[in-house]
């Protein structure tokens, strides 16, 4: 097989030699040549007359992009889309943004520099470079310094270059050929097409199974039925509502309307339907302590701990209060009075009457007559005699 020449390589032993070699090669007018050394040799780029690398521009552009992106992101999130007051600072608080801008600038600039260097300047991955797998490369990556003049150079002429290289007194000269084109069965079109088809079919089936098949309903016999839903529009009735308003005067089950609702001084009252039995009074005490005592006090003196924070609640032992009929007290609890709100929704009818009975007990106890005492005495006396 006819091999194609890549270039001629020469090996040298010392860094001083290679710098002289580089100077002479660039002076001879060669353009496409390269120097290889196991470590960066100082001053080689000047000896080779290399132009400064353009890598810095990639860094600059991406660094500026990073600053702009960071500022834009923070401006958008912090000042436009979701403005939040943090530490009393303005929404666009530039000093607070600078550290982040700096970080993103550095991040983008360094990443772009490294990736740009590896991809654009090192042309990574280039696996079949002619210099790979040569004795020359083994030596220059260990303890030798090498020069390669490529055949692509305009001045390249094998005999002349050989003569030139010999004039530099190298340790050895090597001819370097392009490697034979390698074929990779993995990259054959048939195999690749096969892979693509398999991939498309597999992912298609997976998609269908997970997103469609699993959700298919075998039958929908009772899933959909004609019916009226409350709170939903309906075409059945002329007014378009699914719900009906009850007939005038309808009363809900278990509900008794209170006829004097909203009247401040009703002229007539309900009669107390409950007797002050022990159970009734216990219920009344419990409800009184829960709902009434916070303002009126535990014993109805109007001396609760809330005293002073509101207009003071009146004592339930005033003559006026004692002269209220049961129905009037019931009315006040149900309807409210002055700043006292209605307790109709918290306390049931029965509980309200029980409270009325309990208040009566409290009033009687606070304003007991001596005759009451005698009754008690008689009773205890009886008990004592037993």
């Amino acid at each position: 097989m006819n091999k194609k020449l890549y270039g001629l390589a020469a090996l040298f032993k010392t860094p001083d030699e290679i710098i002289e070699v580089a100077k002479k090669t660039s002076a001879a007018g060669y353009q496409k040549y390269d120097i290889h050394s196991p470590y960066p040799v100082h001053g080689i780029e000047r000896a080779m007359k290399l132009k400064p690398s353009k890598l810095g521009f990639i860094t600059l552009v991406f660094g500026l992009t990073g600053s702009a992106l960071a500022l834009l992101l923070m401006y958008w999130t912090m000042s436009v889309d979701y403005p939040m007051i943090i530490g009393g600072k303005p929404f666009f608080a530039l000093p607070a943004f600078i550290p982040i801008t700096f970080e993103v600038t550095v991040l983008l600039a360094t990443l772009a520099t490294v990736i740009g260097m590896i991809t654009f300047f090192f042309r990574f991955p280039e696996n079949d470079h002619p210099l790979h797998d040569t004795d020359y490369m083994k030596k220059v990556s260990c303890d030798h310094y090498g020069l390669v003049i490529e055949a692509k150079d305009k001045l390249f002429d094998e005999a002349k270059v050989l003569e030139f290289l010999n004039s530099l007194k190298p340790e050895s000269i090597e001819e370097i050929y392009y490697p034979e084109k390698e074929t990779y069965p993995v990259l054959e079109p048939k195999f690749v097409t096969f892979l693509i088809i398999i991939a498309v079919v597999t992912s298609g089936i997976t998609y269908f199974a997970l997103n469609k098949l699993l959700y298919m309903q075998p039958f929908t016999w009772m899933m959909e039925q004609p019916k009226l839903n409350p709170q939903k529009p309906s075409t059945l009735f002329a007014d378009g509502f699914g719900m009906r308003t009850p007939v005038q005067g309808t009363v809900a089950r278990g509900f008794l309307p209170y006829p004097y609702m909203g009247q401040n001084n009703p002229t007539e009252f309900l009669q107390n339907p409950y007797l002050p039995t022990k159970e009734n009074l216990q219920l009344g005490e419990q409800k009184y302590l829960t709902f009434c005592s916070p303002c009126h006090g535990n014993f109805g003196d109007g001396d609760s701990r809330l005293r002073g924070q509101f207009p003071n609640p009146p004592s339930l032992h005033s003559t006026r209060a004692r002269e209220f009929s049961d129905g009037m007290i019931y009315h006040i609890i149900t309807n409210g009075q002055n700043i006292m709100p209605s307790y109709a929704s918290q306390v049931t009818r029965e509980e309200r009457w029980a409270i009325v009975n309990y208040i009566r007990v409290l009033q009687r106890a606070k304003n007991a007559k001596s005759s009451d005492l005698q009754v008690v005495n008689k009773e205890t006396g009886n008990n004592a005699s037993n």
């Binding site: 001083d16 710098i19 100082h42 810095g56 530490g87 009393g88 000093p95 607070a96 600078i98 550290p99």
Partner: protein, 396 residues
């Protein structure tokens, strides 16, 4: 490639150094003396700015010398004499500081006894901020600097004739001792002379802030002289592009360092938003001072950053010369910005006065004259230094 032939012939510095130095010194002295009669307080504040500028250049240069020894740097050996000459300003500080010590009443609010009596905060600080301790501190610090200056430069000069390598070892030891002392003294100097102008204010990073400007000033001064002397042939062929590039890179680094420190100081105070800290910045935001504050960012960071960013710019002698002058001005501007708003009549905004222009002239005069005086009959290159050959053959 290697510089094998090395024969240095001592040459006198260009005549311009002494001529301009003397003219500036005489003119500056006359005008400065006149300004003291016109407005003593303003002249005192301006003189403080120039004094701190000279401290920056001199002390920063001594730091650069010590840094070279401690770090074992060899690239800076060929021109080490230049910072040595600049550090020669240190003994002169003994004379320069005298007027300031007498003017303490004009400069420092805490020096007023009647003000301290009514001020609990100042009473608390009085054990540190009182005139006798202040004077002792200042003189002791200068004495320490001068001591290290004499040791380091005497050993360095002795080496020119004796070629004794052990002198380098000695200097390394003294430099290692000097660096922590330098860190402490420069911090206390910044606190004493700059921060205590506003005795109610405090910032723990302030010493570092002054240090960053100091190194910029010293580096810029050294760069300027080296580039000028190289252009006039004094350093050829021993100072190469690689040396110049290192100058540019160092200047660039310290411009960034200054911005980093200045921003760190600002951001913490801005974020915490405590009235006892923010008022210092608010004073510098008052009236026309806001222009100075914004200009400081442009002059001290944005312009030098942009001008030094690219690789060729860092080794272009013309660019370096310009940027060194620019950075010297930037540090002066920074000091002006630190000092002047503390002056009572200028609290509400800057008002121009010709006195502000006089003192830089005096400063240039002092620096040039002293530099010229010290460098007379001295080798520009430490010919006996064992690191010299490596320094001349320095490659990046």
């Amino acid at each position: 490639m290697h510089q094998t032939d090395f024969n240095y012939q001592r040459k006198d510095l260009p005549a311009g150094f002494s001529k301009f130095g003397l003219i500036f010194l005489v003119v500056g002295l006359i005008l400065a003396a006149a300004s003291f009669f016109v407005d003593q307080t303003r002249a005192a504040f301006n003189y403080l700015v120039i004094y701190m500028m000279i401290v920056s250049i001199a002390l920063g240069s001594l730091f650069l010398i010590a840094l070279e020894y401690v770090a074992g740097a060899d690239w800076s050996t060929p021109f080490r004499r230049i910072p040595e000459f600049f550090a020669g300003l240190l003994p002169v500080l003994f004379i320069l500081v005298i007027p300031l010590l007498f003017l303490n009443h004009d400069l420092f609010h805490w020096a007023h006894e009647e003000a301290v009596k009514e001020d609990k905060i100042l009473q608390g600080k009085a054990p540190y901020l009182n005139i006798s301790f202040f004077v002792i501190r200042t003189l002791v610090f200068i004495a320490i600097w001068v001591l290290f200056y004499f040791i380091l430069q005497r050993n360095s000069k002795k080496q020119d004739t004796t070629k004794d390598q052990s002198l380098t070892t000695k200097n390394i030891r003294f430099s290692a001792a000097f660096i922590p002392i330098f860190a402490l003294t420069i911090t206390f100097t910044a606190v004493d002379w700059l921060m205590s102008l506003e005795p109610h204010w405090f910032s723990t990073i302030f010493g570092v802030y002054f240090f960053s400007g100091t190194v910029i000033a010293a580096l810029a001064a050294v760069t300027l002289v080296v580039v000028i002397l190289k252009e006039k042939g004094y350093f050829d062929p021993w100072i190469t592009d690689d040396h110049l590039y290192s100058f540019g890179a160092l200047l660039f680094a310290f411009v960034n360092f200054w911005a980093y420190i200045a921003f760190s100081q600002f951001m913490l105070i801005w974020y915490a938003d405590l009235p006892e800290e923010t008022f210092w910045y608010l004073t510098r935001w008052e009236g026309s001072w806001v222009i100075f504050s914004l200009l400081l960012i442009v002059i001290h960071f944005i312009v030098p950053y942009a001008m030094l960013l690219s690789q060729p710019a860092k080794m272009d002698p013309k660019r370096l010369k310009f940027i060194s002058i620019w950075l010297l001005f930037a540090h002066l501007f920074d000091l002006f910005w630190l000092v002047m708003p503390n002056m009572q009549p200028l609290k509400k905004g800057y008002v121009f006065s010709w006195i502000d222009l006089v003192f830089p002239i005096l400063g240039i005069g002092i620096v040039l004259t002293v530099f010229n005086f010290i460098s007379k009959k001295e080798n520009l290159i430490p010919v006996g230094d064992p690191k010299l050959k490596k320094g001349i053959n320095f490659h990046l």
